[in-house]
Structures are given as C-alpha cells and as structure tokens.
Amino acid sequence: MNASVVVAPILVPLVAALFGALGPRRPGYQRTVGLLGAFGLFVAAMGLLASVFVEGVIAVQIGDWPAPFGITLAADRLSAAMVAATGLVAFTVVLYSTAEIPDDVVTAGFYPFVHVLLLGVCGAFVAGDLFNLYVWFEVMLLASFVLLALGSGRAALTSSITYVALNLLASAFFLIGVGFLYGQVGTLNFADLSLKLGDPAALDAARPAALLLLIAFGIKAGVFPVFFWLPAAYPNASFAVSALFAGLLTKVGVYALLRVFTLVFPLEALGLAPGLLAVAAATMASGVLAAASQAHVRRILSFHIVSQIGYMVLALALVTTLGLASAVFYIVHHIVTKTNLFLVGGLIARAGGSEQLDQIGGLSQRRLGLTMLFAIPALSLAGVPPFSGFFAKFFLIRSALEADAIVAVTFAVVVGLLTIYSMAKIWIEAFWKPAPAETHLDEPLPRAALVACAMLAVVTITLGVGAEALWSFALATAEQLADPQEYLNAVLGDPT
C-alpha cells in the first residue's frame, strides 16, 4: 500500500499522457484528459504528502530489486512537499491553459507533453538515486523543448536555442559527474552514497564529481553566472507554459542541490559553503538589478525568478538546520506565488493588449478583480505581511542572523527592497497610470483563468496566515535533511 502513494504521482501523468496521445485529437477530448490528469496528480500528490506526514520516509524498490542494486523511489518530507506543490501548480496551470491555448496547439499534442513534463518533475522529486535523477531531468527537458516550440513563432525558437544549448551543457556536466562518482564509489543510490562518502578520504576523492554536479544543478536552477538562458526562454512561450516553467523547472534544480548537498555531499565537509554563499548573493543581486531595468511584464518576472533562486541557495549555503528550513519554506512560497504572477501576467496582457508596460495602463479602474489577483501575489513576492513572502524572507533573514552571516542578511534586505521596486513598477505602469491609447479591450476575462489565479491567491494567503504550521513542517523537513538516518533506514532497511 505504501508503495502506491510514491508511484502514483509518476503513474498518473504517465497514464494521462498516454490517454491524450492515443485518444482522438479533438480539442474537447484533449482538454478534458489534460484537466482530469492534472486533477488526478493533485489528488495523488496530496495523498503522498499525507502519507509521508503520518508515516515518515517512504521508500519503494521498483521491481522488488533491493537497494542499492535496483531502482529506488523514496519520498521524505522534502520530496512530498515538492510533489504537493507540483500537483497544485499542475492543476491550476492546466485549468488556466484550457482558456488560453488555441485549438491547433491542443490538437498538436500540447497536453500529453505537459503531462510528460509533470512526469519528469515528479520523478525527479522522488528519485532515490543519482542516475534516475538524471533520467527524470532529461524527460522533463525533452518535454520542455517541445512545449517551448509548440505553436510559437521564429523569435521564440531562436531564444529557445539558448535554453536548449545551456541545458544540454548542464546535462553533460551532470552525466560526467555521475560517471566520476560511479567510478570512484561504485554506487549511485543516494542512501548508499551517503554511507560510503561518510569516510573523509572517499569524500575528498569525490570532490571533482561534487563540483561537476554543483555546476550542473547550478545551471538548471539558474544561478549566477549561468542564468541567462532563463529570461531568454520564458517570456516567449505561452503564458501557461511559462507559468509551468517558472513554478517548477528551476525549482527542480534547487531541489537537486538541496538533496545532493545535504545527503550525499555535506556542504560543510566539502568546504563549499562560503563559495556557494557568494554565488547566491551574486544571483540575488544580478537578478533583481536586471529585473529593475526591464519594462516587459514577463521579463521582469523572469529575472525575479533568478533573484529568488539566490535566496533559496543562500538558505542552503548557511548550512544550518534553520537555514534548510527557511529554504524549504521559501521554495513552497515561491512555487505558488511565481506561478500565480505569470498567470496573472497573461491576464494583464489580455486585458491591456500588451506585455510592454509603456503600452498599457489604467487597469485598476477597469478591472477590479484582476487588480486584486495581481496585488496578492505581487505583495507576497515583495515580502509584505501577512502574505507568505513576508514570512519566507523573515525566516530566512532570522536564520542568517543566527548563523552570523551579516553580509547575507544585508543582501537579503537590499534585494528585498529592490523587489518591491519592481513590483511597484508593474503596479504603477499597468494599473495606476491612465491607459496610453484608447484600447477598448473590455471583453470579460476567461472564467477558468480567473478561477486558477484565485485558487493560487487563496493558497498564498493561507500560507501567510498559516505560516506557523508551514514553518513547523519546514523545520521537521530540515531535521530530516540534516540527519539522514531515517532516510537511510527507509531505503536500505533498518540495521537493527
């Protein structure tokens, strides 16, 4: 029974993709299957979260081959929280997409590829060994290449070349790192690696592999100085696709950093923490400064992803339990808020007729609902109480203060202020200032899209009001990461 809850978040998108690809190419059928599959994933993800919450780490040996020889799937609190966030993003984005994606793109196989992407994301979150993590990354990337190219023009294809090239480079680093590690240690199972690299000599020998993996995950997460693929690719896709990418893709990179650099390579033992701290600070600063110079809704938001990734990596680089907990809190907050902002960005473009801030305006007078829907995630991202973003930054800064990382605290505060500036810019330009031209775009916004944005907004408020509950969950997650014994027992069997 336990096994099913871990496998279900992988099987549901797989089955949904199969039904979509084998079934008739009618838009109605495709949308129904896409939506049902996404809802199924949401249910499966909540099931996994509840089971892990009650029972602790759950591991499955696929095909009944024992670890470390077979393929292991394992879900601890971190995996379960990430899968749960994925389920929420999947359902809301697919709901939104039913109102955005045109029929010809839908019949070309849009939804099967969305589900293959979700398959890769969920697989990466529950993968119990490094090679399977690699395979799931590839599944996810292949689907994302197709989604970027589907139904977009020449400009989008050109920009996605940067995305493809850099991500393939990251995959190459990843694979070489995996090869090094396997050559030295003879295993790729996370739990087994954790035991074998407990020996300082082995850990020292595995240093090159650790660095290669750090670079690979860094590119995938979009850290300084290898983030430029992200703002190049995201603003050119459809809004639903860019929201899906914004919510999930870079976070898989951050998840991989969190998983591998706690369980397999403890950052502190490798002495990588100060370097990573510097990278995180540079990521935060460069992302937010680049965002400040943009005047296009999704470009601003894309550069903000980079800056926010910096916060998460910073939290990891503090190498304290509190730091890890604030990283977990930050990721969950970020996935919900960022997805929502991209979706609302789509509605802004629809209501205002453009994404260029100088061509739109006056939305606050004409679109009260939209104004509210933008205000909630924007205030949350900017870090205003009582929304989740305030607590995410608050916990992070407190953890940094307790770790005596004064420079990190300074960066977090200053970058936070600049984030407010960018959000205020979208607010003033799109909502406050009078519309520059007589744009009579007064047709009602699609209801499905509004509902999707409202659902995410409600979650943002809930995470803010219930911050204490989420924080205690994050603390328990961090303790699981800091002391891997429970994970090891679940995967390798209890030695006692």
């Binding site: 096994a3 099913s4 496998v7 099987l11 797989l14 089955v15 199969l18 690809a21 084998l22 499955v60 040996q61 696929i62 095909g63 009944d64």
Partner: protein
C-alpha cells in the same frame, strides 16, 4: 531502373527481417537480443521498403502512424509494470507464469515490457527516418 534489384530484394527481405526481429525479441530473455535491437531490425525492414518503393509504401505497410506506434509501445510497457502492481507487488515487479505448476516459468511480464520497448523503438526510429526520407525527396 537501377532500383530493380533493390526493389525485388526488398520484397523478399522485408518478411525475413521482420521474422528475424521477432526472433531477436524472443531470444533476448536469456541470450543477447531483446526489444531494443529487435525494434531496430524491424525498423530497418521498413526503411528498406521506403528506400526501394518510397516512404508512402512503407507507411502503408506500417498501417499505424509511427508516432502513435511509439506511444502504444510506452502504453504496453506501462501495462507490464501495472500487472505486478495489481498483484500487490511493487510497480514493475516481474510476474512469471509456468506452463504447469512446478515447472520453471516460461512467460512473464518482462516479455511484455520488451514488446513495449520493441514497438517504441520501431515507432521512434521510423518517425525520424521516414520524415528525413520524405524531406530529401
């Protein structure tokens, strides 16, 4: 006219290659072979037809669109994993059936999985190659 030999030969080679691919698929359980290499050989049979008689003829013989065939393969492989799952074992556990009780098992879900690989490989390889052949014409 220069294609006459190729055309005649391909007509005889086509069934032979397909037969050989099934043999490889079957043999893969205990000896070298299996779904992947079997699928490649089967795809070669169709590519041979496409070279001799043109891509439409190969598509006609395949009946199903190659992309769809590939998805069918994935579906068959998923199904093979689900068999063990329904019987209460972890996903993808191999389930074997003996011809009669007490004998060593002869047929199991790994063959079904291999069949899925076989179909997927044929589908993917032909989706690439037939498109390329059509574009060079």
């Amino acid at each position: 006219m220069s294609l006459l030999i190729l055309r005649t030969a391909s007509r005889y080679l086509f069934p032979l290659l397909l037969l050989f691919s099934v043999f490889l698929l079957w043999r893969g359980h205990h000896e070298p072979g299996g779904g992947f290499v079997g699928g490649l050989v089967a795809a070669t049979a169709f590519v041979l037809i496409a070279l001799a008689e043109g891509a439409p003829s190969a598509r006609e013989r395949l009946r199903l669109a190659p992309e769809r065939l590939a998805v069918c393969g994935v579906a068959v492989a998923t199904l093979s994993g689900a068999v063990g799952w329904f019987l209460g074992e972890p996903f993808l556990t191999g389930i074997w059936w003996a011809a009669s009780p007490g004998e060593s098992p002869v047929v199991g879900t790994p063959l079904l999985f291999d069949l899925g690989v076989y179909l997927s490989v044929i589908g993917v390889v032909l989706a690439f190659l037939l498109t390329l052949i059509e574009e060079t014409k």
